[in-house]
């Protein structure tokens, strides 16, 4: 880049290649209105592509239902249910913790937290404001 660039050269990415224009166009497209939108080109191209690959629509339909079944089954198999249940239990336990609104305001004021975060922090420490704040102050970086 030792010399000034010729005027035909665009700054940034090559117009054919990666992001800039394609994405800019995309952004504009995203801004377009929904129900009235008809962007044919892209879809046709995709449709053609999928024809070339000879993807069977029926096959895909089956695949998607298989996927949904498998997702459920898989979770059971992977023991995720127990994990989720534990999380749920934890959540329920937390939900039961009673939180004093004065303590929430105290945390909001002293620790620059928003109400949601302050309440969460309190619940995580059984509603004990001093313990919650001590934990916050000494949190490991």
């Amino acid at each position: 880049m030792a010399e000034p660039q010729p005027s035909s050269v665009q700054e940034g990415m090559d117009p054919e290649g990666p992001p800039a224009p394609a994405s800019a166009e995309d952004r504009k497209a995203a801004a377009a209105m929904s129900s009235l939108e008809t962007r044919g080109g892209d879809e046709e191209a995709e449709a053609k592509k999928s024809n070339n690959k000879q993807i069977d629509q029926e096959e895909l339909g089956k695949a998607i239902s298989r996927l949904e079944l498998a997702d459920k089954a898989g979770k059971v198999a992977a023991g995720e249910t127990t994990k989720k249940e534990k999380e749920k239990e934890e959540r329920e336990k937390r939900a039961k913790v009673k939180v004093d609104q004065g303590d929430v305001s105290l945390l909001v004021e002293e620790l620059d937290l928003n109400k949601v975060k302050a309440t969460e922090l309190l619940k995580a420490h059984e509603g004990d404001a001093v313990r919650a704040m001590r934990a916050f102050v000494t949190a490991k970086a």
């Binding site: 880049m1 030792a2 992001p19 800019a24 497209a29 999928s50 695949a63 898989g74 002293e110 001093v130």
Partner: protein
């Protein structure tokens, strides 16, 4: 109370007009669009969708407030129109209020569940906001609408992957693969990428065995050869299949014999212990023989060899490099310097060469002839020694200067040598001489961008912003909006903007400094927003692995040292502004003498300064009028910067609130940076957020228990608390009692504790300075003694130039007696005669 949201059917003419409006908007024909919209509204003035479209167009023309007002009107008229809600979301999105935008999109989607466009917009925002669970849902919905697009399947997998459901992600990819009839051709890059993406998910689950199998089965012919081979070698090594792993790494090394990671892989595959010097040595010397021009196989052994072995290997390496006159020799070597024995051995060797003790290399003469150049050995040795003595672990600037002058004598045109000479001046503290020398080096090769950049930086260090931008302008598009500086902003030249800002900070031009530092923050913001483009683009191109890497990189974007640096400086300025609000009034800011004036004088000065400023601004405005308005790449006029000097930034009424915009991300992303914690402390203690201040103290103390600034801050915290006018809430006090006293127990005798700290660190200037500050704080009667003691720190052996400059600042902050200041300057000048900081000033 709201009018019943009856759908208002339009006549057929209006319907087609409405389509026209939408088209016009998409094609950016805003004026036409507005005209058509108004035409519809004349017929049916209550048509919400049309009003919403109008709002959208107005927003694109830059009138955000008006657009929002109009969109609200539209919503009131047609509460149940998804178009109106979608527009509302789009407006919020363009105002960067993503949370509200998501809400609006969701509402629109509830009204029109089939709309792909709304669904897509929603998904984009969810991933941008890292709402992974929401993104999984949206992606599932999109996939169900169109199962034949592979990218929809991949996108669902990405969503599941990022949400942490690796098993689901793999299953999604597999389910799609099962629908394929036959193996796609090699040219199908999307497929090839998807295969490797799936492989990375399997590996991430920790199932290395299966990842290897999958790789062997599915990625044999993958066009990304390097990745496949690297992954394979890594998996084999992890699985303990050492022999195969060694073979794999050898193949990789045959492709690229300069990549250290391959050598490391091979070494552990061969089970060569780090301590087994002989085996390691043999391994590398084999490779060195195979590849006589390579560097890695020769350089790496220097890391593990010791004693005579090291000496011998270093001798060979150095002579080889120096004979060739390779300029980066020292840069390649200096990583060894923390090992004192190696440092000394290297120095001994090279000083030996300088007095003619070098053996001519066996092939040295042949090389010389083939190059046809004169031997570069002599000046290279001098150059190496100059760099050695300039390096902070082995610094002796006078020797460095002697060697570089000798080197320059034999090669008066060398850019590198002059550049090093400039760096030596910099270490002397002679900013001006350094800048002049670097500028001279630049003129030796005016077409070289590297040296140009370097010269610009040295001008900035010398506070000569004008000369710096002059240099930069030789490589910028100067017709860009805002000239060279504008182009540097467009090109996001972060280093320059940072250095420029810090230079203004040193000069006390706080407005300009803030302006630059704020620019850095906005550049980081832009980088974060740049993601938007890739959420859909990467999918379309099928570049999934790179996309995942980008998403993760973005998550820790503000960890970047450039951000911390800018944020710390910006916070420092805001703290200054809080402590001395009169700094906000322009030209007065460049001196401490503002305090000395009485109020009448100050008023006069302020008035004068204001007049001057106005005059200047007027002149500039006139200059600008001549030029035509600049346009950005889309042909839209650029927004005029209404505050080029940063004056408005300075005049903030709440500097500490502004500071938090830097402190929050700083503490979130760089909590292990002690300067960040200390900057946070300064802001929190002024905001009277004592628990947050305490938090930074706890963190800094954990990072470095004996940091001098932390020591001082702990005392300031204690003093501030003991002098509170209003007591803290009892619960907050309880927390402080419990946590602060691990840093400074309540029973501590403050003076004694401080003296103890001083005794422990009496030979470090920065610690002594901190202790003096504390002494001043707890006993204001010690001022005189403290100021005298600051002068004594100059005599400490370990005192650095930076320490000395800080000592001077300390005296200036304490408004020391001019007598002491002069003594200090004289003593400092004697020790650092070249340093510009201690030159006799006119006043």
């Amino acid at each position: 109370m709201a009018p019943p949201p009856s759908p208002q059917p339009l006549g057929s003419k209006e319907r087609s007009l409405f389509t026209q409006v939408v088209k016009n908007y998409e094609n950016k024909q805003y004026k036409k669009g507005l005209k058509a919209a108004d035409q519809i509204l004349r017929k049916s003035p209550d048509h919400g969708d049309t009003i919403a479209m109008k709002a959208l167009i107005i927003n694109s023309q830059g009138n955000t407030d008006e657009a929002f007002a109009l969109a609200k009107v539209a919503l009131k008229l047609s509460m149940k129109s998804h178009v109106c809600w979608h527009v509302y979301g789009l407006l919020y999105r363009s105002a960067k209020n993503f949370e509200e935008a998501i809400k609006a999109y969701k509402f629109a989607l509830r009204l029109e569940p089939e709309s792909q466009q709304i669904q897509k917009d929603l998904a984009l925002l969810q991933i941008q906001m890292r709402d992974y669970q929401g993104y999984v849902q949206s992606r599932r919905a999109i996939l169900q609408q169109r199962t034949s697009w592979r990218q929809n399947w991949t996108a669902l997998a990405i969503a599941q992957h990022l949400a942490g459901d690796l098993v689901d992600a793999e299953r999604t990819l597999t389910t799609f693969e099962e629908t394929l009839k036959g193996v796609p051709p090699k040219t199908d890059i999307e497929h090839a990428e998807a295969v490797l993406y799936k492989n990375s998910i399997i590996a991430e689950m920790g199932e290395t065995e299966r990842a290897l199998e999958h790789l062997d089965a599915a990625a044999k012919n993958n066009p990304d050869r390097t990745s496949v081979m690297e992954l394979r070698a890594k998996y084999l090594l992890t699985l303990g299949r050492k022999e195969e792993a060694a073979k794999a790494y050898r193949v990789l090394l045959a492709r690229n014999p300069e990549y250290r990671a391959y050598f490391e892989g091979l070494q552990s595959a061969l089970e060569i212990e780090k301590s087994d010097v002989k085996a390691s040595k043999d391994l590398y010397s084999d490779y060195a023989k195979q590849n006589p021009r390579g560097d890695a196989a020769r350089r790496i052994p220097l890391d593990f060899l010791e004693g005579d072995d090291f000496r011998e290997a270093a001798d060979q390496y150095l002579q080889h490099m120096l004979h060739k006159g390779i300029p980066s020799t020292f840069a390649n070597i200096k990583a060894l310097y923390p090992d004192t024995a190696k440092k000394d051995a290297i120095l001994q060797l090279v000083e030996g060469y300088a007095v003619g003790k070098a053996r001519p290399l066996a092939n040295g003469s042949a090389e010389k002839q083939s190059n046809g150049d004169k031997d570069l050995f002599e000046p290279s040795v001098r150059y190496f020694l100059a760099q050695h003595y300039n390096y902070h672990l082995s610094r002796d600037l006078n020797k460095a200067m002697k060697y570089i002058d000798e080197a320059i004598e034999s090669a008066p045109e060398s850019v590198d040598y002059h550049m090093t000479k400039a760096r030596i001046w910099k270490h002397y503290g002679a900013a001006k001489k350094a800048a002049e020398m670097m500028e001279m080096a630049r003129t030796l090769d005016a077409r070289d961008r590297y040296i140009n950049t370097k010269a610009a930086k040295y001008h900035l260090r010398n506070n000569d912003n004008e000369a710096a931008i002059q240099n930069m302008s030789k490589f910028t598009r100067n017709e860009a909006h805002g000239g060279p500086l504008g182009d540097l902003h467009d090109m996001q030249c972060v280093w320059y903007i940072t250095e420029d800002g810090e230079s203004y900070l040193r000069q006390g031009k706080l407005g300009l400094a803030l302006k630059r530092l704020t620019s850095i923050s906005s550049i980081f913001e832009i980088w974060q927003e740049d993601q938007f483009d890739f959420h859909s683009f990467s999918l379309r191109k099928g570049q999934i692995r790179a996309y995942i890497e980008m998403v993760r990189w973005e998550d820790s974007l503000r960890e970047h040292p450039f951000f911390s640096r800018a944020a710390i400086s910006a916070a420092e300025i805001y703290v200054k502004l809080y402590d001395q609000p009169n700094l906000a009034h322009g030209s007065l800011s460049n001196g401490v003498n503002g305090d000395k004036m009485d109020s009448a004088e100050r008023k006069k000065a302020e008035k004068k300064a204001r007049k001057e400023r106005e005059k200047q601004e007027k002149a500039e405005a006139e200059k600008k009028d001549g030029k035509k308005a600049a346009v950005d790449q889309n042909g839209e006029p650029k927004k005029e910067d209404k505050d080029p000097k940063g004056g408005l930034l300075l005049q903030t009424s709440e500097p500490l609130v502004e500071a938090m915009k830097f402190i929050n991300p700083l503490l979130e992303f760089s909590p292990r940076n002690i300067q960040a914690q200390q900057a946070g402390f300064e802001v929190f203690i002024r905001r009277k957020k004592f628990l947050l201040a305490l938090r930074t103290l706890v963190a800094s103390h954990a990072l470095s228990p004996s940091n001098p600034i932390t020591h001082e801050q702990i005392f300031r915290f204690q003093q501030t608390l003991s002098k509170l006018s209003e007591p803290l809430p009892p619960k907050a006090m309880e927390v402080i009692n419990a946590e602060f006293h691990t840093l400074l127990p309540a029973s501590t005798d403050l003076a004694k504790h401080n003296n103890e700290f001083l005794r422990q660190h009496h030979d470090s200037a920065s610690h002594v300075q901190a202790c003096l500050k504390v002494r001043q704080l707890i006993d204001p009667s010690t001022t005189e003694k403290n100021q005298q003691d600051v002068i004594r720190t100059l005599a400490l052996e370990g005192s650095s130039l930076e320490d000395a400059v800080r000592g001077l600042e300390l005296l200036e902050e304490g408004k020391a007696d001019p007598k002491y200041k002069n003594d200090y300057l004289a003593a400092a000048h004697e020790r650092w005669p070249e340093a510009s900081a201690f030159e006799k000033k006119a006043d």
